[in-house]
């Protein structure tokens, strides 16, 4: 149930940024780039924890895929912000994401074996679901630069693939 709470907290945050946008404080491209990049880095860290702890071959394969794909997306993001001469800007959503991921990591650190595998993969399903919803409803529509919008749109398709992949792995532990 913890992951549901996490997803709920992030959803609340995005709702808050949605409200902010209704008030005219729309997310800027430097903020959007920071949120997307941070979300990717956090999933890489989660994957690295899984690679240290898990012995399940499907979980390990999934974690390796996450590490590789999110690095590939973030490399593109870095190249793009450099090209556009944009400096990603830290913001409350990025900060909250980072804090919640740290809490999750600490919680998962206490688990081992199947309990860890199940908690990790359940969180991956929830995390991707939340990030994908945020991309679709908030980040992509708010992005002004077309190249940033395009990269986020391709990212969304990649992460939707991850969500489905995570659901397949999670089904093993039901």
């Amino acid at each position: 149930m913890v992951f549901v709470r996490f997803a709920g907290a992030f959803a609340a945050l995005l709702l808050a940024s949605g409200i902010a946008s209704a008030q005219g404080a729309k997310l800027t491209d430097p903020q959007i780039a920071h949120i997307a990049y941070t979300a990717g880095q956090l999933d890489i860290q989660a994957a690295q924890q899984a690679l240290e702890k898990s012995k399940n071959k499907d979980v390990v394969a999934f974690a390796k895929d996450m590490e590789r794909d999110h690095k590939a997306v973030n490399d593109q993001a870095l190249a793009l912000v450099k090209k556009l001469n944009v400096t990603p800007e830290d913001n409350d959503t990025s900060k909250a994401l980072t804090k919640q991921a740290a809490d999750k990591r600490a919680e998962l650190a206490k688990l081992n074996g199947t309990a860890f595998d199940k908690a990790y993969i359940d969180n991956e399903v929830a995390y991707h679901k939340t990030v994908n919803t945020a991309l679709q409803n908030t980040l992509i529509p708010s992005a002004s630069n077309q190249e940033l919008k395009d990269l986020l749109t391709t990212g969304l398709k990649i992460f939707q693939g991850h969500e489905e992949h995570a659901e397949h792995v999670a089904a093993e532990f039901k």
């Binding site: 794909d69 590939a72 593109q76 990649i158 992949h165």
Partner: protein, 106 residues
């Protein structure tokens, strides 16, 4: 005489290879923005399927029946020769939202 025979055999071999390659087709499938295009292709046993990955992430073409599993790195092209007939549904192991189908005739 022996030399002449050897040349003749070589010629026959080359002819056989040329006829063979004229019959077998190379069918190209583009991978871009997480989609196989065309999604559905028709082929014959002996044809080569060539996947051209224009994405910056790796993909796979993995047959659901387990017949083949081709890894396609980012910005790379990978080929596979069809050895059996039948309709094969395939997907990407890393992004299962990507699916395709190869219909292979004898």
């Amino acid at each position: 005489m022996r030399h002449g025979m050897a040349v003749g055999m070589l010629g026959a071999l080359l002819l056989a290879l040329m006829v063979g390659s004229a019959r077998a087709e190379v069918i190209q499938i583009q991978i871009e923005k997480l989609a196989f295009t065309p999604r559905q292709v028709s082929a014959h046993v002996g044809d080569t399927i060539q996947w051209v990955n224009a994405d910056f992430v790796a993909h796979t073409a993995t047959a659901r029946n387990g017949a083949w599993d081709v890894m396609i790195p980012p910005n790379a092209t990978k080929s596979f020769v069809l050895k059996a007939d039948g309709t094969v549904d395939y997907y990407c192991k890393f992004h299962p939202n990507m699916t395709g189908q190869v219909m292979v005739a004898k």
